[in-house]
Amino acid sequence: MGNVGEELIRRMAAGDSEAFARFYDRYSPLVYPLILRIVRDRPDAADVLQDVFWETWRSAGTYDAGRGTPEAWIVTRARARAIDRIRSVRRRSETFVAPLDEALAAAPSDPGGDAAERAADRSVVTGALDRLPGPQREVLELAYYGGLTQTEIAERIKQPLGTVKTRTRLGLERLREIMKR
């Protein structure tokens, strides 16, 4: 799978728009649910998605296969742009807690939303994260999907910063173990 993606990125770097179309078709359905889950707003998600892929087109030449798979490359970028978006929204509206709670509310019982939204919610319930101890999973989710720093997480869950740091490290170690298999 990686090799196809790498080849497409190489061709994109050479200005091959056909390769870009294929790259988009291959990866946009994979990262769109992530973006939607983080920003919780379809027009915003479509906006972020466009930014993310525009960036991949512009920066394809800087992709280094030695530093990660195309999947990690695009997912890291998509997550970062989506978090940028909610951080700027939070700054603008100065509401901090409410939208975050919304973003983190994995509400499988919520009858609203369409398949993509529900699918995004489900990742919390059924994914590999589910196999982590609850406290570790909590800090990973607050950071990854909520865009909180460790200091913010410590305040939010009312735990010492050191505890949050330890949970983060242990949680990611465990996740790497799970995903290696």
Partner: protein, 260 residues
């Protein structure tokens, strides 16, 4: 600073959860640390794998169209199309697709329903055939019983026992016999005749066998067979295994015979 601190920072950095000051310090360390680079790479791959576990969802097609336009160079100088308008168009297209989808689903359900109806109809007709066959068999049996009872009303009627012989020593038989009106033979424990064969009844008088019809036994080894009136006295009743169409004179083994 022990490296454990960097391990913690690497994890937080992969999640983009370091505070600004810490992030700058870690980035300074990272550029020369193979261990942290490796941790970071593995963490990002793991997080990406978690993200990709979620079912894919095709984004609004306008995003692709817009990107292709920008890549083609035509839209690069222009401001981007308002995504809210694109979103509205996408929503309308989606609604239209849902209507079509609903229609197709309806057709699919109807087709499935018809298939199910067909299956039920076939099942019903099979059951009805079974029932009809059963009823016909019962009717035949009742008719035979009635005939036996009618015969037994007549004081001239005799009941003659038959004993198993040859290949079926445990078979049993009774002949309810009336010289003027004929009779009925009831057999039990006779194995079903092999393919292409049947049992043939004989009335024997003065050493001369006369054929009295062929019959089959049911799965339980029973049969009732009607005997035509004879042309006089019968000394012995016998049953042989013969070709299914019957033969004018016995050729096969005797399976049941009356004792004289």
């Amino acid at each position: 600073m022990s490296h454990e601190t960097f391990d913690e920072q690497a994890a937080a950095y992969a999640l983009d959860a370091l505070d600004a000051g810490e992030r700058a310090a870690f980035e300074a360390h990272l550029s020369g640390c193979a261990r942290c680079e490796s941790t970071l790479r593995a963490s990002r791959e793991a997080l990406a794998a978690v993200v990709l576990e979620v079912p894919a969802a095709v984004p609004p097609p306008e995003v692709r169209a817009e990107l292709m336009r920008r890549v083609g160079g035509r839209a690069d100088t222009r401001s981007r199309t308002d995504t809210r308008r694109l979103w509205l168009r996408w929503a309308m297209a989606t609604a239209a697709a849902m209507v079509v989808g609903g229609f197709l689903t309806g057709m699919f359900v109807a087709a499935r329903y018809e298939a199910e109806l067909g299956r039920v109809a076939r099942e019903t007709s099979r059951l009805r055939e079974d029932l009809n066959r059963h009823e016909a068999a019962l009717q035949t049996r009742v008719t035979a019983y009635q005939a036996v009872v009618e015969l037994l009303r007549d004081p001239a009627t005799r009941v003659i026992a038959m004993k198993g012989a040859g290949p079926s020593p445990t078979a049993e038989g009774r002949v309810v016999w009336n010289e003027t009106s004929g009779g009925q033979v009831l057999v039990a424990k006779l194995p079903p005749a092999p393919e292409g064969k049947a049992y043939e009844m004989w009335t024997i008088a003065g050493g001369q066998p006369t054929p009295a019809g062929v019959f089959q036994v049911d799965a339980s080894g029973q049969a009732i067979h009607r005997l035509p009136p004879g042309s006089g006295r019968v000394d012995v009743f016998a049953i042989t295994l013969e070709p299914a169409a019957g033969v004018p004179a016995p050729t096969g083994p005797i399976v049941l015979a009356s004792t004289k």
